[in-house]
Amino acid sequence: MDWYLQQIINGLGLGAIYALIALGYTMVYGVLRFINFAHSDVLMLGAFTAFYIAPKIEKLMGHQSVLGCILLFIVAAAVCACIGMLIERLAYRPLRNRPKLTVLITAIGVSLLIEYTAQNEKVLGSAPQPFPQLLQEHSIHLGNLIISSNDVLTLGVTIVLLAAMWFVVQKTRIGTAMRAVSYNQQAALLMGVPVNRIISFTFGLGSALAAIAGILYAIKAPSIEPLMGVQPGLRAFVAAVLGGIGNLPGAVLGGVLLGLLETFAGGIPGLSNYRDAIAFGILILILLVKPAGLLGRSAVEKV
Protein backbone atom coordinates (compact mmCIF):
# COMPACT_ATOMS: atom_id res chain seq x y z
CA MET A 1 0.00 0.00 0.00
CA ASP A 2 2.75 2.40 1.01
CA TRP A 3 4.64 1.45 -2.10
CA TYR A 4 1.67 2.41 -4.25
CA LEU A 5 1.18 5.73 -2.45
CA GLN A 6 4.88 6.50 -2.79
CA GLN A 7 4.77 5.74 -6.53
CA ILE A 8 1.66 7.90 -6.90
CA ILE A 9 3.45 10.83 -5.24
CA ASN A 10 6.55 10.41 -7.41
CA GLY A 11 4.40 9.96 -10.49
CA LEU A 12 2.40 13.09 -9.80
CA GLY A 13 5.62 15.12 -9.54
CA LEU A 14 6.76 13.84 -12.92
CA GLY A 15 3.30 14.04 -14.46
CA ALA A 16 2.93 17.69 -13.45
CA ILE A 17 6.05 18.56 -15.46
CA TYR A 18 4.78 16.59 -18.46
CA ALA A 19 1.46 18.38 -18.16
CA LEU A 20 3.12 21.82 -18.31
CA ILE A 21 5.11 20.87 -21.41
CA ALA A 22 2.12 19.17 -23.02
CA LEU A 23 0.07 22.37 -22.64
CA GLY A 24 2.54 24.17 -24.91
CA TYR A 25 2.29 21.46 -27.57
CA THR A 26 -1.46 21.37 -27.46
CA MET A 27 -1.95 25.16 -27.54
CA VAL A 28 0.25 25.54 -30.59
CA TYR A 29 -1.51 22.61 -32.23
CA GLY A 30 -4.81 24.28 -31.42
CA VAL A 31 -4.03 27.47 -33.32
CA LEU A 32 -1.70 26.24 -36.08
CA ARG A 33 -2.48 22.50 -36.42
CA PHE A 34 1.10 21.33 -36.39
CA ILE A 35 3.51 19.76 -33.93
CA ASN A 36 6.08 22.25 -32.71
CA PHE A 37 9.10 19.97 -32.43
CA ALA A 38 11.24 22.87 -31.19
CA HIS A 39 9.14 23.05 -28.01
CA SER A 40 11.39 20.58 -26.20
CA ASP A 41 14.40 22.75 -27.01
CA VAL A 42 12.72 25.85 -25.64
CA LEU A 43 12.41 23.85 -22.42
CA MET A 44 16.14 23.20 -22.46
CA LEU A 45 16.85 26.89 -23.13
CA GLY A 46 14.65 27.77 -20.15
CA ALA A 47 16.72 25.55 -17.87
CA PHE A 48 19.95 27.05 -19.21
CA THR A 49 18.64 30.60 -18.78
CA ALA A 50 17.94 29.81 -15.14
CA PHE A 51 21.37 28.20 -14.83
CA TYR A 52 23.13 31.34 -16.01
CA ILE A 53 21.10 33.94 -14.15
CA ALA A 54 20.77 32.01 -10.87
CA PRO A 55 24.14 33.28 -9.50
CA LYS A 56 23.21 36.88 -10.32
CA ILE A 57 19.84 36.60 -8.64
CA GLU A 58 21.48 34.94 -5.66
CA LYS A 59 23.79 37.95 -5.32
CA LEU A 60 20.78 40.27 -5.49
CA MET A 61 18.25 38.43 -3.34
CA GLY A 62 20.34 36.24 -1.06
CA HIS A 63 21.04 32.51 -0.96
CA GLN A 64 18.07 30.20 -1.65
CA SER A 65 15.44 32.84 -1.06
CA VAL A 66 11.83 32.25 -2.08
CA LEU A 67 11.51 35.65 -3.74
CA GLY A 68 14.69 35.04 -5.72
CA CYS A 69 13.32 31.72 -6.89
CA ILE A 70 10.09 33.34 -8.08
CA LEU A 71 12.06 36.05 -9.85
CA LEU A 72 14.16 33.37 -11.52
CA PHE A 73 11.06 31.59 -12.83
CA ILE A 74 9.67 34.87 -14.17
CA VAL A 75 12.89 35.92 -15.92
CA ALA A 76 13.41 32.49 -17.53
CA ALA A 77 9.77 32.39 -18.63
CA ALA A 78 10.06 35.87 -20.16
CA VAL A 79 13.27 35.02 -22.01
CA CYS A 80 11.76 31.81 -23.41
CA ALA A 81 8.53 33.55 -24.35
CA CYS A 82 10.63 35.90 -26.51
CA ILE A 83 12.54 32.95 -28.00
CA GLY A 84 9.30 31.16 -28.79
CA MET A 85 7.81 34.20 -30.48
CA LEU A 86 11.02 34.73 -32.42
CA ILE A 87 10.99 31.14 -33.69
CA GLU A 88 7.39 31.53 -34.80
CA ARG A 89 8.10 34.85 -36.52
CA LEU A 90 11.21 33.66 -38.39
CA ALA A 91 10.52 30.03 -39.20
CA TYR A 92 6.80 29.33 -39.06
CA ARG A 93 5.02 32.52 -40.12
CA PRO A 94 6.48 32.54 -43.66
CA LEU A 95 4.99 29.06 -44.06
CA ARG A 96 1.50 29.94 -42.81
CA ASN A 97 -0.38 28.83 -45.94
CA ARG A 98 1.86 25.95 -46.95
CA PRO A 99 1.09 22.25 -46.50
CA LYS A 100 1.29 21.09 -42.89
CA LEU A 101 4.05 18.67 -43.75
CA THR A 102 6.33 21.53 -44.80
CA VAL A 103 5.83 23.20 -41.43
CA LEU A 104 6.41 19.92 -39.61
CA ILE A 105 9.76 19.40 -41.34
CA THR A 106 10.71 23.02 -40.62
CA ALA A 107 9.92 22.45 -36.96
CA ILE A 108 12.20 19.42 -36.94
CA GLY A 109 14.87 21.56 -38.60
CA VAL A 110 14.51 24.31 -35.98
CA SER A 111 14.75 21.70 -33.23
CA LEU A 112 17.92 20.20 -34.69
CA LEU A 113 19.39 23.68 -35.23
CA ILE A 114 18.91 24.66 -31.58
CA GLU A 115 20.23 21.32 -30.34
CA TYR A 116 23.36 21.29 -32.47
CA THR A 117 24.10 24.97 -31.92
CA ALA A 118 23.76 24.49 -28.17
CA GLN A 119 26.03 21.45 -28.27
CA ASN A 120 28.81 23.43 -29.91
CA GLU A 121 31.67 23.95 -27.45
CA LYS A 122 31.62 27.70 -28.08
CA VAL A 123 27.93 27.99 -27.15
CA LEU A 124 26.79 25.77 -24.27
CA GLY A 125 28.90 22.66 -24.72
CA SER A 126 27.61 19.10 -24.68
CA ALA A 127 28.89 18.12 -21.22
CA PRO A 128 26.22 17.93 -18.48
CA GLN A 129 26.46 20.68 -15.87
CA PRO A 130 25.16 20.53 -12.30
CA PHE A 131 22.02 22.58 -11.77
CA PRO A 132 22.14 24.79 -8.65
CA GLN A 133 19.81 24.12 -5.75
CA LEU A 134 17.35 26.97 -5.88
CA LEU A 135 15.63 26.19 -2.58
CA GLN A 136 16.72 24.13 0.39
CA GLU A 137 15.46 20.59 -0.17
CA HIS A 138 13.52 19.00 2.69
CA SER A 139 12.13 15.51 2.98
CA ILE A 140 8.70 15.39 4.54
CA HIS A 141 7.99 12.12 6.31
CA LEU A 142 4.37 11.03 6.47
CA GLY A 143 4.29 7.65 8.13
CA ASN A 144 6.40 5.51 5.80
CA LEU A 145 6.07 7.97 2.93
CA ILE A 146 8.83 10.32 1.91
CA ILE A 147 7.77 13.45 0.08
CA SER A 148 10.47 15.64 -1.36
CA SER A 149 9.91 19.38 -1.04
CA ASN A 150 10.86 19.59 -4.72
CA ASP A 151 7.82 17.50 -5.65
CA VAL A 152 5.66 19.77 -3.52
CA LEU A 153 7.18 22.78 -5.28
CA THR A 154 6.54 21.20 -8.69
CA LEU A 155 2.94 20.38 -7.87
CA GLY A 156 2.34 23.82 -6.34
CA VAL A 157 3.81 25.69 -9.29
CA THR A 158 1.90 23.51 -11.73
CA ILE A 159 -1.44 24.00 -10.01
CA VAL A 160 -0.96 27.78 -9.87
CA LEU A 161 0.01 27.87 -13.54
CA LEU A 162 -2.89 25.66 -14.59
CA ALA A 163 -5.30 27.93 -12.76
CA ALA A 164 -3.72 30.96 -14.41
CA MET A 165 -3.92 29.27 -17.81
CA TRP A 166 -7.57 28.41 -17.31
CA PHE A 167 -8.25 32.02 -16.38
CA VAL A 168 -6.36 33.41 -19.38
CA VAL A 169 -7.96 31.08 -21.90
CA GLN A 170 -11.52 31.16 -20.56
CA LYS A 171 -11.96 34.59 -19.01
CA THR A 172 -9.82 37.12 -20.84
CA ARG A 173 -10.28 38.83 -24.16
CA ILE A 174 -7.07 37.44 -25.59
CA GLY A 175 -8.05 33.93 -24.46
CA THR A 176 -11.37 34.26 -26.24
CA ALA A 177 -9.47 35.31 -29.34
CA MET A 178 -7.18 32.27 -28.97
CA ARG A 179 -10.18 29.96 -28.83
CA ALA A 180 -11.70 31.72 -31.84
CA VAL A 181 -8.52 31.28 -33.90
CA SER A 182 -8.33 27.64 -32.87
CA TYR A 183 -11.99 27.07 -33.81
CA ASN A 184 -11.86 28.71 -37.22
CA GLN A 185 -8.95 30.87 -38.25
CA GLN A 186 -10.65 32.29 -41.33
CA ALA A 187 -13.79 33.30 -39.49
CA ALA A 188 -11.75 34.79 -36.64
CA LEU A 189 -9.84 36.92 -39.13
CA LEU A 190 -13.11 38.15 -40.64
CA MET A 191 -14.39 39.05 -37.18
CA GLY A 192 -11.41 41.34 -36.70
CA VAL A 193 -9.25 39.08 -34.52
CA PRO A 194 -5.56 39.94 -35.12
CA VAL A 195 -4.67 36.34 -35.97
CA ASN A 196 -0.92 36.83 -36.27
CA ARG A 197 -0.68 38.57 -32.93
CA ILE A 198 -2.77 35.85 -31.26
CA ILE A 199 -0.60 33.10 -32.70
CA SER A 200 2.49 34.96 -31.51
CA PHE A 201 0.97 35.27 -28.04
CA THR A 202 0.14 31.56 -28.00
CA PHE A 203 3.74 30.70 -28.79
CA GLY A 204 4.92 33.06 -26.06
CA LEU A 205 2.58 31.54 -23.49
CA GLY A 206 3.50 27.97 -24.42
CA SER A 207 7.21 28.73 -24.35
CA ALA A 208 6.94 30.41 -20.94
CA LEU A 209 5.28 27.25 -19.58
CA ALA A 210 8.03 25.17 -21.20
CA ALA A 211 10.71 27.30 -19.51
CA ILE A 212 9.16 26.77 -16.09
CA ALA A 213 8.76 23.06 -16.76
CA GLY A 214 12.41 23.03 -17.83
CA ILE A 215 13.55 24.52 -14.52
CA LEU A 216 11.39 22.10 -12.53
CA TYR A 217 12.79 19.21 -14.56
CA ALA A 218 16.34 20.47 -14.02
CA ILE A 219 15.78 20.69 -10.24
CA LYS A 220 14.63 17.07 -10.31
CA ALA A 221 17.44 15.83 -12.58
CA PRO A 222 19.63 17.70 -11.21
CA SER A 223 21.98 18.36 -14.12
CA ILE A 224 21.42 20.02 -17.49
CA GLU A 225 22.74 19.48 -21.00
CA PRO A 226 21.61 20.56 -24.49
CA LEU A 227 19.69 17.35 -25.20
CA MET A 228 17.86 17.30 -21.86
CA GLY A 229 14.62 18.44 -23.48
CA VAL A 230 14.32 15.59 -25.96
CA GLN A 231 13.02 12.83 -23.69
CA PRO A 232 10.57 14.90 -21.59
CA GLY A 233 9.53 16.65 -24.81
CA LEU A 234 8.66 13.39 -26.54
CA ARG A 235 6.79 12.14 -23.46
CA ALA A 236 4.88 15.40 -23.13
CA PHE A 237 4.02 15.26 -26.78
CA VAL A 238 2.70 11.75 -26.29
CA ALA A 239 0.74 13.10 -23.30
CA ALA A 240 -0.81 15.82 -25.47
CA VAL A 241 -1.89 13.30 -28.10
CA LEU A 242 -3.08 10.91 -25.40
CA GLY A 243 -5.42 13.53 -23.99
CA GLY A 244 -6.57 14.66 -27.41
CA ILE A 245 -4.30 17.18 -29.06
CA GLY A 246 -5.65 20.72 -29.11
CA ASN A 247 -7.56 20.06 -25.88
CA LEU A 248 -6.13 21.83 -22.80
CA PRO A 249 -7.64 19.68 -19.99
CA GLY A 250 -6.70 16.67 -22.11
CA ALA A 251 -3.04 17.69 -22.07
CA VAL A 252 -3.05 17.91 -18.28
CA LEU A 253 -4.84 14.58 -17.92
CA GLY A 254 -2.48 12.93 -20.40
CA GLY A 255 0.59 14.35 -18.67
CA VAL A 256 -0.45 13.17 -15.22
CA LEU A 257 -1.49 9.73 -16.52
CA LEU A 258 1.78 9.28 -18.34
CA GLY A 259 3.82 10.38 -15.31
CA LEU A 260 2.00 7.89 -13.11
CA LEU A 261 2.25 4.99 -15.56
CA GLU A 262 5.91 5.62 -16.17
CA THR A 263 6.74 5.76 -12.48
CA PHE A 264 4.82 2.55 -11.80
CA ALA A 265 6.49 0.78 -14.69
CA GLY A 266 9.88 2.04 -13.52
CA GLY A 267 9.22 0.50 -10.10
CA ILE A 268 8.60 -2.98 -11.54
CA PRO A 269 12.01 -4.67 -12.05
CA GLY A 270 11.40 -6.37 -15.42
CA LEU A 271 9.75 -3.35 -16.97
CA SER A 272 12.16 -0.61 -15.94
CA ASN A 273 14.41 -1.16 -18.99
CA TYR A 274 11.45 -0.54 -21.25
CA ARG A 275 10.55 2.85 -19.77
CA ASP A 276 11.23 4.65 -23.03
CA ALA A 277 8.95 2.29 -24.93
CA ILE A 278 6.08 2.47 -22.45
CA ALA A 279 4.98 5.99 -23.33
CA PHE A 280 4.75 5.10 -27.00
CA GLY A 281 3.14 1.74 -26.37
CA ILE A 282 0.35 3.42 -24.42
CA LEU A 283 0.00 6.09 -27.08
CA ILE A 284 -0.42 3.51 -29.82
CA LEU A 285 -2.97 1.52 -27.83
CA ILE A 286 -5.04 4.64 -27.07
CA LEU A 287 -4.91 5.89 -30.64
CA LEU A 288 -6.10 2.54 -31.95
CA VAL A 289 -9.13 2.58 -29.68
CA LYS A 290 -9.80 6.31 -29.68
CA PRO A 291 -7.96 7.98 -32.58
CA ALA A 292 -8.82 11.48 -31.32
CA GLY A 293 -7.34 10.91 -27.86
CA LEU A 294 -9.06 10.55 -24.49
CA LEU A 295 -10.86 13.90 -24.45
CA GLY A 296 -10.62 14.86 -28.11
CA ARG A 297 -13.56 15.07 -30.43
CA SER A 298 -13.11 13.24 -33.70
CA ALA A 299 -13.67 15.52 -36.63
CA VAL A 300 -16.15 14.41 -39.25
CA GLU A 301 -14.59 14.63 -42.66
CA LYS A 302 -16.70 16.37 -45.24
CA VAL A 303 -16.18 16.10 -48.95
Binding site: K100, T102, V238, Y274, D276, A277, P291
Partner: protein, 307 residues
Protein backbone atom coordinates in the same frame (compact mmCIF):
# COMPACT_ATOMS: atom_id res chain seq x y z
CA UNK B 1 6.68 1.40 -73.01
CA UNK B 2 8.00 2.25 -69.56
CA UNK B 3 8.68 -1.35 -68.59
CA UNK B 4 11.13 -2.09 -71.33
CA UNK B 5 12.99 1.16 -70.62
CA UNK B 6 12.99 0.55 -66.89
CA UNK B 7 14.20 -3.03 -67.35
CA UNK B 8 17.03 -1.81 -69.54
CA UNK B 9 18.12 0.53 -66.75
CA UNK B 10 17.89 -2.29 -64.24
CA UNK B 11 20.14 -4.51 -66.34
CA UNK B 12 22.54 -1.63 -66.91
CA UNK B 13 22.68 -0.92 -63.17
CA UNK B 14 23.36 -4.54 -62.27
CA UNK B 15 25.96 -4.87 -65.01
CA UNK B 16 27.73 -1.74 -63.78
CA UNK B 17 27.61 -3.03 -60.21
CA UNK B 18 29.17 -6.36 -61.22
CA UNK B 19 31.77 -4.57 -63.31
CA UNK B 20 32.64 -2.21 -60.47
CA UNK B 21 32.98 -5.02 -57.96
CA UNK B 22 35.72 -6.61 -60.12
CA UNK B 23 37.82 -3.49 -59.68
CA UNK B 24 37.03 -3.12 -55.96
CA UNK B 25 40.47 -4.21 -54.68
CA UNK B 26 42.17 -1.34 -56.51
CA UNK B 27 39.93 1.33 -54.99
CA UNK B 28 40.89 3.56 -52.10
CA UNK B 29 39.22 2.09 -48.99
CA UNK B 30 37.88 5.44 -47.78
CA UNK B 31 36.22 6.29 -51.10
CA UNK B 32 34.91 2.76 -51.38
CA UNK B 33 33.28 3.11 -47.97
CA UNK B 34 31.67 6.40 -48.92
CA UNK B 35 30.37 4.98 -52.20
CA UNK B 36 28.80 2.02 -50.37
CA UNK B 37 27.22 4.52 -47.92
CA UNK B 38 25.72 6.26 -50.93
CA UNK B 39 24.29 3.01 -52.29
CA UNK B 40 22.67 2.21 -48.93
CA UNK B 41 21.29 5.76 -48.69
CA UNK B 42 19.78 5.37 -52.17
CA UNK B 43 17.95 2.19 -51.13
CA UNK B 44 16.67 3.83 -47.94
CA UNK B 45 15.56 7.05 -49.63
CA UNK B 46 13.91 5.29 -52.58
CA UNK B 47 11.99 2.94 -50.31
CA UNK B 48 10.84 5.75 -48.02
CA UNK B 49 9.86 7.70 -51.11
CA UNK B 50 7.30 5.00 -51.90
CA UNK B 51 5.67 5.57 -48.50
CA UNK B 52 6.14 9.32 -47.99
CA UNK B 53 6.30 10.52 -51.57
CA UNK B 54 4.19 8.35 -53.85
CA UNK B 55 1.60 7.29 -51.28
CA UNK B 56 1.73 10.46 -49.17
CA UNK B 57 1.81 8.66 -45.79
CA UNK B 58 4.22 10.48 -43.54
CA UNK B 59 6.37 7.91 -41.78
CA UNK B 60 9.04 8.82 -39.23
CA UNK B 61 10.05 5.27 -38.36
CA UNK B 62 12.07 4.11 -41.33
CA UNK B 63 15.24 3.64 -39.27
CA UNK B 64 13.33 1.13 -37.14
CA UNK B 65 12.79 -1.17 -40.13
CA UNK B 66 16.40 -0.68 -41.12
CA UNK B 67 17.35 -1.81 -37.62
CA UNK B 68 15.13 -4.92 -37.82
CA UNK B 69 16.65 -6.01 -41.13
CA UNK B 70 20.17 -5.14 -40.03
CA UNK B 71 20.05 -6.97 -36.73
CA UNK B 72 18.35 -10.04 -38.16
CA UNK B 73 20.74 -10.52 -41.06
CA UNK B 74 23.74 -9.77 -38.83
CA UNK B 75 22.51 -12.33 -36.31
CA UNK B 76 22.12 -14.84 -39.16
CA UNK B 77 25.65 -14.34 -40.42
CA UNK B 78 27.09 -14.54 -36.91
CA UNK B 79 25.26 -17.77 -36.05
CA UNK B 80 24.71 -19.61 -39.31
CA UNK B 81 27.17 -17.88 -41.59
CA UNK B 82 30.25 -20.09 -41.24
CA UNK B 83 28.61 -23.32 -42.24
CA UNK B 84 27.15 -22.38 -45.61
CA UNK B 85 28.35 -21.13 -48.95
CA UNK B 86 29.50 -17.58 -48.33
CA UNK B 87 28.72 -16.10 -51.74
CA UNK B 88 25.02 -17.01 -51.88
CA UNK B 89 24.55 -16.83 -48.16
CA UNK B 90 24.83 -13.04 -48.03
CA UNK B 91 22.01 -12.10 -50.43
CA UNK B 92 19.80 -14.71 -48.77
CA UNK B 93 20.57 -13.25 -45.34
CA UNK B 94 19.72 -9.80 -46.70
CA UNK B 95 16.44 -11.07 -48.13
CA UNK B 96 15.64 -12.76 -44.82
CA UNK B 97 16.34 -9.48 -43.02
CA UNK B 98 14.14 -7.68 -45.50
CA UNK B 99 11.32 -10.20 -45.02
CA UNK B 100 11.45 -9.89 -41.24
CA UNK B 101 11.38 -6.09 -41.60
CA UNK B 102 8.40 -6.46 -43.94
CA UNK B 103 6.56 -8.61 -41.38
CA UNK B 104 7.26 -5.98 -38.71
CA UNK B 105 6.10 -3.37 -41.22
CA UNK B 106 2.85 -5.27 -41.63
CA UNK B 107 2.34 -5.48 -37.87
CA UNK B 108 3.06 -1.77 -37.51
CA UNK B 109 1.23 -0.70 -40.62
CA UNK B 110 -2.13 -2.40 -40.25
CA UNK B 111 -3.12 -0.57 -37.08
CA UNK B 112 -1.29 2.74 -37.60
CA UNK B 113 -2.25 3.43 -41.21
CA UNK B 114 -5.81 4.03 -40.07
CA UNK B 115 -4.46 7.30 -38.71
CA UNK B 116 -3.56 10.31 -40.81
CA UNK B 117 -1.03 13.11 -41.05
CA UNK B 118 0.55 14.13 -37.78
CA UNK B 119 -0.89 11.17 -35.90
CA UNK B 120 0.60 8.72 -38.35
CA UNK B 121 3.95 10.53 -38.15
CA UNK B 122 4.02 10.28 -34.39
CA UNK B 123 2.86 6.67 -34.24
CA UNK B 124 5.53 5.58 -36.71
CA UNK B 125 8.07 7.57 -34.69
CA UNK B 126 6.81 5.72 -31.62
CA UNK B 127 7.16 2.33 -33.29
CA UNK B 128 10.68 3.23 -34.39
CA UNK B 129 11.57 4.06 -30.79
CA UNK B 130 9.92 0.88 -29.49
CA UNK B 131 11.96 -1.21 -31.94
CA UNK B 132 15.09 0.54 -30.68
CA UNK B 133 14.25 -0.05 -27.02
CA UNK B 134 13.44 -3.71 -27.68
CA UNK B 135 16.78 -4.08 -29.48
CA UNK B 136 18.51 -2.47 -26.52
CA UNK B 137 17.04 -5.10 -24.21
CA UNK B 138 17.45 -8.22 -26.33
CA UNK B 139 20.46 -10.23 -25.24
CA UNK B 140 20.64 -12.27 -28.46
CA UNK B 141 21.66 -9.18 -30.44
CA UNK B 142 24.02 -7.76 -27.86
CA UNK B 143 21.50 -5.56 -25.97
CA UNK B 144 22.73 -2.02 -25.29
CA UNK B 145 26.36 -2.67 -26.21
CA UNK B 146 25.40 -3.69 -29.75
CA UNK B 147 26.56 -6.39 -32.14
CA UNK B 148 30.25 -6.39 -32.97
CA UNK B 149 32.38 -8.50 -35.29
CA UNK B 150 29.86 -8.84 -38.10
CA UNK B 151 31.71 -10.25 -41.14
CA UNK B 152 32.42 -7.72 -43.87
CA UNK B 153 30.29 -9.12 -46.66
CA UNK B 154 28.93 -5.91 -48.20
CA UNK B 155 30.63 -5.20 -51.47
CA UNK B 156 30.15 -2.54 -54.09
CA UNK B 157 28.48 -5.12 -56.32
CA UNK B 158 25.87 -6.27 -53.82
CA UNK B 159 25.11 -2.72 -52.68
CA UNK B 160 24.49 -1.28 -56.10
CA UNK B 161 22.93 -4.47 -57.38
CA UNK B 162 20.32 -4.17 -54.63
CA UNK B 163 20.05 -0.41 -55.19
CA UNK B 164 19.27 -1.05 -58.89
CA UNK B 165 16.70 -3.70 -57.96
CA UNK B 166 15.10 -1.36 -55.40
CA UNK B 167 14.80 1.51 -57.84
CA UNK B 168 13.48 -0.79 -60.54
CA UNK B 169 10.99 -2.58 -58.32
CA UNK B 170 9.56 0.60 -56.85
CA UNK B 171 9.38 2.43 -60.17
CA UNK B 172 7.72 -0.56 -61.81
CA UNK B 173 5.31 -0.90 -58.91
CA UNK B 174 4.28 2.75 -59.02
CA UNK B 175 3.91 2.70 -62.79
CA UNK B 176 1.79 -0.44 -62.81
CA UNK B 177 -1.99 -0.39 -62.84
CA UNK B 178 -2.01 -1.45 -59.21
CA UNK B 179 0.53 1.27 -58.39
CA UNK B 180 -1.78 3.99 -59.68
CA UNK B 181 -3.58 3.33 -56.42
CA UNK B 182 -0.63 4.74 -54.46
CA UNK B 183 -0.76 8.00 -56.37
CA UNK B 184 -4.54 8.14 -56.11
CA UNK B 185 -4.32 7.72 -52.33
CA UNK B 186 -1.67 10.44 -52.25
CA UNK B 187 -3.73 12.88 -54.28
CA UNK B 188 -7.09 12.44 -52.61
CA UNK B 189 -7.94 9.61 -50.28
CA UNK B 190 -11.68 10.13 -50.40
CA UNK B 191 -11.79 10.31 -54.19
CA UNK B 192 -9.60 7.20 -54.39
CA UNK B 193 -11.90 5.30 -52.06
CA UNK B 194 -15.00 6.27 -53.99
CA UNK B 195 -13.31 4.97 -57.13
CA UNK B 196 -13.04 1.54 -55.62
CA UNK B 197 -9.50 1.59 -54.30
CA UNK B 198 -9.04 -0.21 -51.00
CA UNK B 199 -7.08 2.68 -49.47
CA UNK B 200 -5.98 0.90 -46.28
CA UNK B 201 -4.73 -2.07 -48.29
CA UNK B 202 -2.87 0.23 -50.68
CA UNK B 203 -1.24 2.11 -47.84
CA UNK B 204 -0.23 -1.10 -46.06
CA UNK B 205 1.23 -2.47 -49.32
CA UNK B 206 3.36 0.65 -49.73
CA UNK B 207 4.41 0.48 -46.09
CA UNK B 208 5.37 -3.20 -46.20
CA UNK B 209 7.26 -2.82 -49.47
CA UNK B 210 9.13 0.18 -48.09
CA UNK B 211 9.95 -1.71 -44.89
CA UNK B 212 11.24 -4.70 -46.90
CA UNK B 213 13.78 -2.59 -48.79
CA UNK B 214 14.72 -0.69 -45.63
CA UNK B 215 15.46 -4.07 -44.05
CA UNK B 216 17.75 -4.96 -46.95
CA UNK B 217 19.51 -1.62 -46.59
CA UNK B 218 19.91 -2.36 -42.88
CA UNK B 219 21.55 -5.69 -43.70
CA UNK B 220 23.95 -4.05 -46.13
CA UNK B 221 24.72 -1.41 -43.51
CA UNK B 222 25.37 -4.04 -40.83
CA UNK B 223 27.84 -5.96 -43.02
CA UNK B 224 29.47 -2.73 -44.12
CA UNK B 225 30.09 -1.08 -40.74
CA UNK B 226 30.61 -4.50 -39.07
CA UNK B 227 29.11 -3.05 -35.90
CA UNK B 228 25.49 -2.33 -34.98
CA UNK B 229 24.32 -0.31 -32.03
CA UNK B 230 20.61 0.21 -31.25
CA UNK B 231 21.23 3.92 -30.60
CA UNK B 232 22.35 4.31 -34.21
CA UNK B 233 18.75 3.73 -35.30
CA UNK B 234 16.99 6.42 -33.30
CA UNK B 235 14.53 8.87 -34.81
CA UNK B 236 17.29 11.26 -35.93
CA UNK B 237 18.33 8.56 -38.39
CA UNK B 238 14.73 8.37 -39.64
CA UNK B 239 14.73 12.12 -40.09
CA UNK B 240 17.93 11.90 -42.14
CA UNK B 241 16.09 9.66 -44.60
CA UNK B 242 13.00 11.89 -44.56
CA UNK B 243 15.19 14.89 -45.40
CA UNK B 244 16.57 13.02 -48.41
CA UNK B 245 13.03 12.43 -49.67
CA UNK B 246 11.97 16.03 -49.05
CA UNK B 247 15.14 17.45 -50.57
CA UNK B 248 14.71 15.37 -53.69
CA UNK B 249 11.04 16.20 -53.94
CA UNK B 250 8.36 13.84 -52.68
CA UNK B 251 7.58 11.21 -55.27
CA UNK B 252 10.38 12.11 -57.68
CA UNK B 253 12.62 9.07 -57.86
CA UNK B 254 15.44 10.81 -59.73
CA UNK B 255 15.47 13.75 -57.35
CA UNK B 256 15.41 11.51 -54.30
CA UNK B 257 18.39 9.49 -55.57
CA UNK B 258 20.29 12.72 -56.24
CA UNK B 259 19.45 13.97 -52.75
CA UNK B 260 20.62 10.69 -51.21
CA UNK B 261 23.96 11.07 -52.99
CA UNK B 262 24.26 14.74 -52.03
CA UNK B 263 23.36 14.31 -48.38
CA UNK B 264 25.74 11.38 -47.94
CA UNK B 265 28.58 13.30 -49.52
CA UNK B 266 27.91 16.54 -47.64
CA UNK B 267 29.19 15.41 -44.22
CA UNK B 268 32.31 14.06 -45.92
CA UNK B 269 32.98 17.40 -47.57
CA UNK B 270 32.31 19.24 -44.31
CA UNK B 271 34.65 16.96 -42.35
CA UNK B 272 37.08 19.82 -41.73
CA UNK B 273 34.32 21.84 -40.09
CA UNK B 274 32.89 18.88 -38.21
CA UNK B 275 31.70 20.96 -35.26
CA UNK B 276 29.58 23.12 -37.55
CA UNK B 277 28.49 20.31 -39.83
CA UNK B 278 25.21 19.51 -38.14
CA UNK B 279 24.39 23.20 -37.69
CA UNK B 280 24.75 23.66 -41.45
CA UNK B 281 22.63 20.54 -41.99
CA UNK B 282 19.75 21.80 -39.86
CA UNK B 283 19.91 25.27 -41.39
CA UNK B 284 19.73 23.60 -44.78
CA UNK B 285 16.49 21.85 -43.81
CA UNK B 286 14.89 25.12 -42.66
CA UNK B 287 16.03 27.17 -45.65
CA UNK B 288 14.95 24.46 -48.03
CA UNK B 289 11.46 24.38 -46.54
CA UNK B 290 11.23 28.18 -46.71
CA UNK B 291 12.58 28.57 -50.22
CA UNK B 292 12.07 25.32 -52.15
CA UNK B 293 9.42 23.27 -50.34
CA UNK B 294 8.79 21.01 -53.35
CA UNK B 295 12.41 19.82 -53.35
CA UNK B 296 15.74 21.03 -54.57
CA UNK B 297 15.41 19.32 -57.92
CA UNK B 298 11.85 20.23 -58.79
CA UNK B 299 11.51 22.49 -61.76
CA UNK B 300 7.92 22.02 -62.79
CA UNK B 301 4.97 21.50 -60.52
CA UNK B 302 3.25 19.01 -62.81
CA UNK B 303 3.54 15.33 -62.09
CA UNK B 304 5.22 13.61 -64.98
CA UNK B 305 2.93 10.92 -66.29
CA UNK B 306 4.81 8.20 -68.18
CA UNK B 307 3.04 7.34 -71.40
Amino acid sequence: MPFLGAKRWLLLGIALAILASYFTPSFNRYYLGVVIDIGIAIILATSLNLINGHTGQFSLGHAGFMAVGGFFSAWLSLHVGETVNAFWFFPLALLAGGLVAAVVGLVVGVPSLRLRGDYLAIVTLGFGEIIRVVAQNTQAIGAASGLAGIPKLTTLGWTFGFAAITIYAITALVNSTYGRGFIAVHDDEIAAESNGIDTTRTKVTAFVTGAFFAGIAGGLYAHHKQFLSPTGFDWVKSIDIVVMVILGGMGRTGGVIAAAVLLTLMPEFLRDFSEYRMIVYSLLIILLMLLRPAGLFSFSRKRRIPS
